[in-house]
């Protein structure tokens, strides 16, 4: 991949490939745990002890015996389950950590978007694999929801690209030196957070894994496979929070404290915001969300992109 035009070397170039990959993996795990812990804390209301519940259930899932179904498509099922956490890791590869990204390309934001879109295939396969009706229903629900959230998500990422005049993540952070993008792109920010919840099928967009279909895509998962999918979902939410920090909240910029601390504070803030709002909203029915997305969110995000384009042309971001 081309590094030309990059002001900042990738973390792989600066710190060596293995430490850089390890950093992304560790950050992904920490983010996933952070999301799950805050989620437990808010949902259970049982105080700080509830925070450790995800760790406990994670260890339990590792030891749990796998159960299977009649005539599953094992190859596709396992492929789908393994892809979810791998895609979360890959999408984190273009999020600046400590000011550097693992991969730096001239289209980082599109990479992030592409990893999320490959999740379409992965989640559908998780639903398809077990040869079970509830799981398959969940998979179909994810696709319907995807048709609604994908374009608003693309437009919100494009808006960031217009403001930064670059699709490179480190350039996007650098472009917010004087003004955070969230101030001129509030709609794109809100839509990005909402669509992040949708691609992790979480919170109000959890109907692919809804209780009305016995857990949907998750219904036949057990043992390590359930752990992988849950971990991947949480890591995706965490990666989205980290991306929202980099794309809208100035990344690691901030006074007094060192950059990574600021980035951590902002990312945790976004996660808390996610959970506090997301867990208070009812689950949206996918077929109802279609109209909202196409009639409201797409025009809104297009308008947002237009405003930012005009601001950009007038030299506002220069």
């Amino acid at each position: 991949m081309s590094d030309s035009g990059a002001g900042i070397a990738t973390s792989a170039a600066a710190w060596g490939l293995a430490p850089a990959v390890l950093l992304v993996a560790v950050v992904a795990l920490l983010l996933a745990f952070g999301v799950a812990a805050v989620d437990r804390l808010v949902v259970s209301g049982a105080g700080s002890r509830a925070m450790w519940e995800p760790l406990r259930s994670g260890v339990r899932l590792m030891a749990e015996e796998r159960r299977t179904t009649l005539a599953p498509d094992s190859l596709l099922w396992r492929l789908g389950c393994a892809s979810v956490p791998v895609l979360a890791l890959l999408s984190l590869a273009v999020v600046p950590l400590g000011g550097r990204t693992l991969l730096s390309t001239s289209a980082d934001l599109v990479w992030f978007n592409a990893m999320e879109s490959i999740l379409w295939a992965a989640v559908w396969l998780v639903g398809w694999g077990p040869n079970a009706v509830h799981a398959l229903t969940g998979g179909y629900r994810f696709l319907i929801q995807g048709l609604s959230y994908e374009l608003p998500l693309m437009f919100s990422l494009i808006t960031v690209g217009i403001g930064a005049q670059s699709l490179r993540a480190t350039d996007v952070v650098a472009a917010q030196e004087s003004l955070w993008f969230v101030l001129t792109m509030p709609v794109a920010f809100a839509v990005f957070l909402a669509t992040a919840a949708a691609f992790a099928f979480w919170g109000p967009f959890a109907s692919p894994a809804g209780v009305d279909v016995a857990g949907g895509v998750r219904s036949e998962l057990s043992g390590v496979e359930r752990l992988l999918v849950e971990l991947g979902r949480a890591a995706f939410l965490g990666a989205a929070a980290a991306m929202a920090t980099a794309a809208f909240l100035g990344g690691d910029a901030g006074p007094w404290l060192p950059g990574p601390v600021w980035q951590l504070v902002k990312t945790v803030g976004v996660v808390v915001l996610f959970v506090l709002i997301g867990r208070r909203l009812p689950v949206v029915r996918p077929e109802r969300f279609v109209e909202v997305a196409w009639m409201v969110l797409i025009p809104l995000t297009l308008l947002q992109a237009l405003v930012v384009a005009v601001l950009s042309l007038s030299g506002f971001y220069a």
Binding site: G5, L79, A107, W124, W128, N131, R288, E291, V292
Partner: protein, 193 residues
């Protein structure tokens, strides 16, 4: 011609190219619609890797993005309309095997002979510092007319395809005089109207 690329890139192109062809063949070998669809996706993702090796980052990521979404949607329709969706019964994806094999082999030979015998122009074109920016400038500048025509054409195709496929029109939704305050839809929309 190949000397522009590093040895790593050439190796990647060869391996991923072989992988994409193999996955393409797998489409016609596997006996399940889901597997055929995702073998095709694997083939497209291998092509994405080839584009990355060529430093065409934006095109590569957009290929992965578009093709994955397209295959996921296609899987739905393949399973809805084709025979034997889950591979629980034997099936074949091949029709008129001998004729199509002949046509395929003929096209392959013609293209390969063409590629290796044509005296390709060797220009003094330098590789751009940022292929994404170059692509954007081409689409929004010198090639804007072509891209707009293609874009509008595709969009019109999508709309006319949907129109032809749906049995319901505005008279079904808003009544014969189009005066109904709320559309009469089998699945209610999410907006309060």
């Amino acid at each position: 011609m190949l000397t522009d690329l590093s040895a790593w890139a050439v190796t990647a192109v060869v391996v991923l190219g072989a992988l994409s062809v193999a996955a393409g063949i797998a489409v016609f070998v596997v006996d399940s619609m889901a597997r055929a669809t995702f073998a095709l996706l694997a083939s497209f993702l291998a092509v994405t890797g080839v584009l990355i090796a060529f430093d065409l980052d934006y095109l590569a990521f957009v290929t992965a993005l578009m093709m994955t979404i397209e295959m996921a949607i296609m899987a739905v329709f393949m399973i809805m309309f084709m025979m034997n969706p889950a591979g629980l019964m034997p099936m074949t994806m091949v029709h008129n095997a001998r004729g199509s094999a002949l046509v395929g082999a003929g096209a392959f030979v013609a293209l390969t002979v063409g590629i290796w015998t044509i005296d390709w122009p060797v220009g003094e074109v330098t590789r751009p510092a940022d292929s994404t920016r170059q692509l954007g400038e081409a689409i929004m500048g010198s090639h804007m007319l072509a891209m707009l025509v293609i874009g509008v054409g595709l969009f019109a195709t999508i709309i006319s395809g949907t129109l032809l496929a749906t049995a319901r029109g505005r008279y079904d939704r808003f009544g014969a005089d189009l005066r109904a305050a709320r559309p009469n839809d089998p699945v209610p929309g999410g907006l309060p109207r």
